[in-house]
Symmetry: C2
DNA sequence: TCATGGCAGCAGCCCACCTTATGTCCAGAT
DNA sequence: ATCTGGACATAAGGTGGGCTGCTGCCATGA
């Protein structure tokens, strides 16, 4: 079968017009080069060169074929270049901080994809609240951080968004079968309310404030989302949470969209100094998405 | 070293996402394919695929490399195409008729070049006067003919031109050292004149007639150029011949350009029916010249 | 727990390809 | 004419690259 060495030889012969010199150029003996060309001519069933006394020149078809051989070799050269440029990209570590909900939901497929593309790069992820994440990034202790409502800047990329949804107990009047699963925020805030933060700065309270509304009847304020859901189940009140935080088991709960949807966006920001090849590769993967 | 088979395997694996199926696609065992990509990864020092349980998917660098591998393979495919299209071009015969002077002067390098480009095509050349050549072409007994002043048409190509020059004996008054080696045709025709045809239709007589001139003093009319030169040497008169017909030994002769140069052009015409690949290849070679 | 699918590793074998050595042809020189 | 040198082809022989066959490993699913 044909060897890339054979094509290198053919191209060299075309360049030098001389089998002997071409042979030593590619590190073969004259005999080897001669046989290489003879083999290709045999395989293709076409004469590639006319062997004159003085020089060995390509035939017409030979010329076309040699052109393609050059294409092949230049592709091979490109491969070498790609490999060289990827040096230092195949090894590396990315330190990343992420808050819990996203870490459990949208991050895993991303990490898996990245691990496929860059098996040599370790991504070590640590869980933190978003205040902590800001601090970690500022201190340079992590390269990348997942934050809520990231500023639009060059070293940040939007990953997704997450609608705030109302959670009411089954049987609540907002959840009557006849009605669509929609509620206006203004109606919601009039209910007995359970406030949950999830350790996150982008709280329901702020969402409500941004809509120029006020909580009339704040019953409880908790940190964990799960506590809030438990309280809703008990009929203590209603709450407003990001959709991703909803538990798998929604028994006893009724989820309502907001009539005028409000989203929290989240995205990745990188420490300005963390401009390693590994980090860039990570952002590159997310960019076209 | 790397084999083209290896690259075929890599591309197949990328296409199927599965080493086993790719292997049978390229006619290898699973083991062989596995070793092939392992070898390439070893050689390049780069991981090409991440072997998942479910599928074998390219890494980021692997993807770029596979792109180039496809380039290589498509080049190889192009080579196969070129070879296929050249079938019937590598064998063949061209019958050609040519008049003597050109056969001896400008044709040899052309034939040598063509023989280099198409060693499998035999060109058999026969010598004839240009009336005979016309007849041979018309009868289809030759594929290509060299003619003087060919009509501008698709199946003809101009090969060169050849100025008519005056030949006078040494010491002739036209050849005085003080004068430039130029003479006006009108002056020439007033001299004792020797007419030579060389068996060619494009005679000096016609050239003179086209310039609305007349021979005042026609002394001899011969067929062979060499006879004319001999007569000029003897001082019988002057003559007008195409430059190419001049003998190597010009002793006793003085060559003068015409003040208003007249050329005879010659070119190849092909029989309309002689549209074989071989003939087309011959014309293709001459076209860009 | 076993069966299945998919990949890697090992041993062995074989032939494809390279080298060494020699032959051939031609051109130019003596 | 003979010799010599350059350039390519050919013959023969050795070897290592690469393929096959088999086994092992691991994960998943019944």
């Amino acid at each position: 079968m044909m060897n890339l060495m054979h094509w290198r030889t053919v191209v060299a012969v075309a360049d030098y017009g001389n089998i002997t010199r071409a042979a030593e150029r590619v590190g073969l003996t004259q005999s080897g080069a001669s046989q290489a060309i003879a083999l290709l001519e045999e395989l293709l069933g076409v004469q590639l060169f006319t062997r004159d006394r003085r020089q060995t020149v390509p035939t017409a078809v030979g010329f076309q074929i040699i052109e393609q051989a050059r294409v092949m070799l230049s592709a091979l050269e490109t491969i070498r270049t790609v490999v060289d440029e990827s040096r230092g990209l195949e090894r590396g570590t990315i330190r990343m901080a992420c808050f819990p909900v996203v870490l459990a939901t949208i991050l895993p497929p991303i990490l898996r994809r990245f691990k496929q593309s860059h098996p040599g790069i370790d991504v070590i992820t640590l869980e933190a609240s978003d205040e902590e994440i800001d601090a970690l990034i500022a201190a340079g202790q992590v390269d990348i951080g997942m934050v809520v409502n990231p500023p639009a800047s060059r070293n940040s990329v939007l990953l997704g968004r997450d609608p705030w949804v109302a959670v009411v107990p089954n049987g609540h009047r907002f959840a009557r079968p006849a009605r669509r699963d929609v509620v206006a925020l203004s109606e919601l805030v009039a209910e007995p309310f359970i406030l949950a933060t999830g350790g996150c700065r982008a709280t329901a309270e702020k969402v409500i404030a941004e809509q120029r509304l006020k909580l009339d009847d704040l019953r409880v304020s908790v940190r964990d989302w799960s506590s809030a859901f438990a309280l809703v189940r008990e009929g203590v009140g209603v709450t407003l949470v990001p959709e991703l935080t909803l538990p798998d088991n929604r028994q006893g709960l009724r989820i309502l969209e907001l009539a005028e949807p409000v989203h929290r966006r989240f995205g990745l920001v990188s420490h300005t100094k963390a401009n390693t090849k590994a980090v860039r590769a990570f952002f590159d993967m997310l960019q076209p998405a």
